[in-house]
Symmetry: C2
Subunit: 490 residues, 2 copies
Amino acid sequence: MAKQKKQPRPKAQAPKGFRDYFGAEVSERSEMLRAIAGVYHLYGFEMLETSAVETVEALGKFLPDVDRPNEGVFAWQEDEADWLALRYDLTAPLARVYAQYRNDLPTPYRRYAMGPVWRNEKPGPGRYRQFYQCDADTVGTASVAADAEICAMLCDTLEQVGIPRGDYIVRLNNRKVLNGVLESMGLEDEAGRDAVLRTIDKFDKVGEAGVRALLGKGRLDASGAYIDGVGLSEDQAGPVLAFLTSKGSETAVTLGNLRAAVAGSDTGLEGVQELENIAELLLAQGYGPDRIEIDPSVVRGLGYYTGPVFEAELTFEILDEKGRKRQFGSVAGGGRYDDLVKRFTGQAVPATGISIGVDRLLAALREKGRIGSTLKGPVVVTVMDRARMADYQTMVAELRQAGIRAEVYLGNPKNFGNQLKYADKRGAPVAIIEGADEKEKGVVQIKDLILGAQIAENATHEEWKERPSQFEVLRGQLVDKVKEIMDGQG
Amino acid sequence: MAKQKKQPRPKAQAPKGFRDYFGAEVSERSEMLRAIAGVYHLYGFEMLETSAVETVEALGKFLPDVDRPNEGVFAWQEDEADWLALRYDLTAPLARVYAQYRNDLPTPYRRYAMGPVWRNEKPGPGRYRQFYQCDADTVGTASVAADAEICAMLCDTLEQVGIPRGDYIVRLNNRKVLNGVLESMGLEDEAGRDAVLRTIDKFDKVGEAGVRALLGKGRLDASGAYIDGVGLSEDQAGPVLAFLTSKGSETAVTLGNLRAAVAGSDTGLEGVQELENIAELLLAQGYGPDRIEIDPSVVRGLGYYTGPVFEAELTFEILDEKGRKRQFGSVAGGGRYDDLVKRFTGQAVPATGISIGVDRLLAALREKGRIGSTLKGPVVVTVMDRARMADYQTMVAELRQAGIRAEVYLGNPKNFGNQLKYADKRGAPVAIIEGADEKEKGVVQIKDLILGAQIAENATHEEWKERPSQFEVLRGQLVDKVKEIMDGQG
């Protein structure tokens, strides 16, 4: 360490865009992941955990709107060897795994996966460069029954984690319909299509007039900056807008509008037929348009989708950081990606899946007050006599054997007030005190800290005297009395 | 995708030294992490999850025996900004967190953490560059009661996850004792000390004679290569060897030998006293030398330890890859690191902790056959009529509502044999069949696949006829009959 003393001290900070999660935040996420995994498991999906690191070539380049080098991933080169990168989602690694193990895996392969993913994006408020996803995918079947199953499972999952029916909607679209529209317009070059896709994706934000302007010459945005348009003529933009606004009062109307919008394109008609089949399958299982609806404005940013795409939105309103009401928005998205495995093998392997943004879903539940109660701390055994540490350790051992979370105060015991302050900070329900007097008498003092805090806040002086929050019990009754007090605290 | 078709196909392979985990492997690890977390929680530790990415300067350089650039970590530079790296353990990030939030955290701060860490090392058989750790640390107390608590908790944890008493030993040493020995030898330059530490760490492998040679001129290793020694004289090597071999038949003897070995060094005597205090505290709580013993040959490779160090070893024998018997070895290690937080703040913050190598512990339990039973697959509803997919979906929905894991076959249903092969591959307990005949009669066929397999393997022709493994039941009895069959399968 001698050398380091001469160096400047390192900054005690997580890197920009990364954060730490404490206590209940971590356990609430674990619980949510378990709940989601429970539903996925019930549907027959198998767990898979790939490593966080993949080769850059295996990941491919599919991230949307990339404004950073390395296409939005964190990447580095091995000494004169492969470029490696942190995974940006759980789908690209799945495609690699399926290609690698395809002879050993069942077909279709239903798998689920959960864990952090990393994006090398500009950090912003509430937007982090590491976040959790929880995915389920079915690889190896072209049947739209697989897409329907994913949508149904998504509804079940949201309800399971505490989003009641009515507070969410799964919106369903099909890339093939969109491609049909573009085909019928004669717009088939990749760059032009991508530009149109990105514009459509802004429909929620800028509305029909905004999209019309952006498909044409461009428009002034809210900040006063001029945004260049795609440069389509009014005639060309027409079918796109017809498509975008084809959502009707009921499924049949929407499907009819979509059939008109694709103007005879085979791809487009195939896409509409798929949507109709999915909607029928879902309706037969009781998933009506109150939970899953066809919505042509859903695009999904990722470049690898080839068929049905879906997105789950929470529909209740929250207040944003500026105090304005807005809908909470998207918490999950996915779709069919029939070409991702083909990148590796050359053979078409159809696949479809969903990714739940676990951190956003947790934020939503916290907004609604459905999670976020502070966890109870441990029973704190205070230290009155440093030489009798073994006695205090024996007390906590007894408590733990009874299943009660407990610890000895391990800071400097000199100042007793500090020990009680520590117990407070930990959210301890109870503190135990055994000084020399107590030891001699064979008793311990048990302080009910929850009741103590309530009395201190609300009680009159009379009540204070009548409701003691500290009890002297025989040493042998320690565990029973602590249990009794904690049961009373609820 | 047009451009990509012209490029060579990416290789479908995890990067060298990384691997994928399937099904039961993942869930067994999750269960172990939960079990360990349960013990840590009971002891009053709070969860913390830091990000996988830290700045290189915050991580510091403490990895042992580094033969790679970047000191054994995966690191990369942000555009003209910080160097970032994947964490190589969970302790360095804890030191950063404590320094960053020290005014808000309780003192002492007991925290636990679990997750993958990454080492940029040469991969080898069974040695991966991403692996799981599960740590518990107490920051902010110099009391050896904290070290004793960590050792006791480690024993409880090992027993909780299925390593019975007698199959493990926690070995305890103290860096201060070692430093005392080096001090008394007049060996105080950092490079020389490190060389001696590394040599001592080889005691388990090369024995006393080997260490004696390596401390002196060097020796031929098993492969015939000559390994240079540290270059100490016989006189200088003497105290090191006395220290290394000071383990006696009981704790008091070992402590006496250690006192002699440190030859009056204050640091060394302080270290011996700490070991004595820890051993006494533990004995008072029932953790005797059958579970936790003082062993001077424990060094621990990491550079940041300053006081007591500990290591948990599994003592049962396994067969190595060449079929030779050997002890399973270390599954957890830790110690006191009083200077890690000081790197950031300049103020001494004592700390101690343990790290459990979860993947090694899982491997040990698998070796002993204590985990690794194959999980039951889902009930598979076969598809006899593609047009009636909604009917089959309704069946699985009913089964799931009864808590039974179930799925519809989503591959190409043309070849019924493939559907049953799929059910086999999934480990399905039961397959459901409803063709046109069954539909008309209002019944379904239920195939008991476990019984079917047993009969196929063992039964005589008579038994085969007597014990049908396929049942026809009314459609309305589907769920009850499946439940009955699965309960019978146990």
